[in-house]
Amino acid sequence: MWSKKELPSRASGQGQDSPMKDDAFVLRVEDIHKKFGTNEVLKGVSFNVRKGETIVFIGPSGTGKSTLLRCINQLTIPEKGRVWLHDDEVTNSGPKISYFRQKIGMVFQNFYLFDHLTAVRNVEIALLKVKKMDPESARRQALYELEQVGMKGWADHYPAELSGGQAQRVSIARALAMDPEVILFDEPTSALDPELTREVLEVMKKLAKSGMTMLVVSHEMGFAASVANQIIFMENGNIVEQGPPDALLYDPAYVRTRKFVGQFADLTQRKD
């Protein structure tokens, strides 16, 4: 059955409904609507994220999870709804979006490393071109970030020379280099074999423990059970149910959640 999650020390395990001031939230997402043509993909999604929290999004494919993450950093522009990072509005922020995108990192299913650059150049390029850092500091920081994900020894290798797991760890280092407050992970291990999945999840666990705020679309239920502070179940562009892993995975309130989670019972049993 589900292993009990060990609560990271920095998460105080606050109740969902305890009254909090707005500034307790790193990120606030309010009533996001997105259509592609006539296809209504997000139908008014709202949630708040506390500092240091890991939220795992689950739900059938085509439900709008990726679109939701992309609306948060405005890679996709929602028709309606707002996103705040602390007290600053991310939506409708004009050229300031560059700053918000640095503060809201993103990790993709297919890594999207820059194929013409070595691992360390992948990590430092935005430090040079966006943060305008001097080359020595940029290199030093890039190597530090690679070390954080266990990839320092591969600094001079090109993406084509890396395994999927290694490439994904480099892409995490690339996001970390911008000093983000939140990182969005869109199915970071879905393109990986189980073995490689494990090394990426290890890095993500370590990151969560260190206090990083993370939104993770993933169907790694073992990871969700042990790392998430909250799980959000989405279906058809809506949040169906939201709660701590214990409630959402063991005792969901909705039949739809139960049915969806049920599919993963065997997957989660073999974990850890």
């Binding site: 560059s98 990192g105 993103m106 993709f108 490393l113």
Partner: protein, 224 residues
């Protein structure tokens, strides 16, 4: 007078022709890249009307025989614009404008072959679209374009001989003049052919060296 001494006598004249031929090629390639690359960027990232304008441009320059283009510009378009340009210049410009039409297609294909995700990743790091194009998209697409683009060199080199028709004193024109004066035909034309082959070979070697130098593991041509 035997063939060797005729050739020796006319060598300086032929060398002058070679330099005009290479001048045509260099200017044409320069114009081709200088226009072809921005055209390609517009075709991929630009607004719809600009895309349409460049498609029309490419259609025009690729749809007409070089000779027709050459006459059209030399006897028609430039004079009508009140420009009295030397034949050499008109030849180089026409070859360049035509090259741009072909090269824009080569560059466009290369840009589009870059996984769209890399642009998204670049934006997600806070890069502007322009920075992403400069730092991420172009370094890759130029490498990918290089093998296809390198065919432009022999294309334009061989096409340059058509400037004979408007009297540019390039290699073929001078060869024909020598033949007319000396009545030696076969050896002189063979010599001209040999020079074209050598120019071709030398240029391709240079491009090959460049390809090797910019090669990246697991990436594009000439790479492992």
């Amino acid at each position: 007078m035997d063939v060797t001494s005729i050739l020796a006598e006319w060598t300086p004249y032929l060398i002058g022709g070679i330099s005009l031929t290479l001048g045509l090629v260099a200017i044409a390639l320069g114009i081709g890249v200088a226009l072809g690359l921005p055209f390609a960027l517009v075709q991929v990232y630009g607004p719809r009307p600009a895309k349409a304008a460049i498609s029309a441009y490419a259609w025009f320059f690729r749809g007409l025989p070089v000779l027709v283009l050459l006459f059209l510009f030399y006897f028609g378009i430039f004079p009508a614009m009140g420009l009295d340009l030397p034949a050499f210049f008109v030849g180089a410009v026409v070859l360049g404008l035509r090259g741009a039409a072909y090269q824009s297609q080569i560059f466009r294909g290369a840009i589009q072959s870059i996984n769209e995700g890399q642009m998204i990743a670049a934006l997600s790091l806070g890069m502007t679209r322009l920075t992403a194009i400069k730092s991420i998209i172009l370094p890759q697409s130029l490498r990918i374009a290089l093998p296809g683009w390198s065919n432009e060199y022999p294309e334009i080199l061989t096409d340059s001989a058509i400037c004979y028709a408007i009297g540019v004193a390039e290699l073929l024109t001078r060869t024909s003049q020598i033949v007319a004066v000396t009545y030696v035909t076969m050896p002189i034309y063979l010599c001209c052919a040999l020079i074209f082959i050598l120019l071709n070979y030398a240029g391709m070697r240079v491009i090959h060296v460049v390809e090797k130098r910019v090669a990246i593991p697991g990436f594009g041509a000439g790479a492992g």
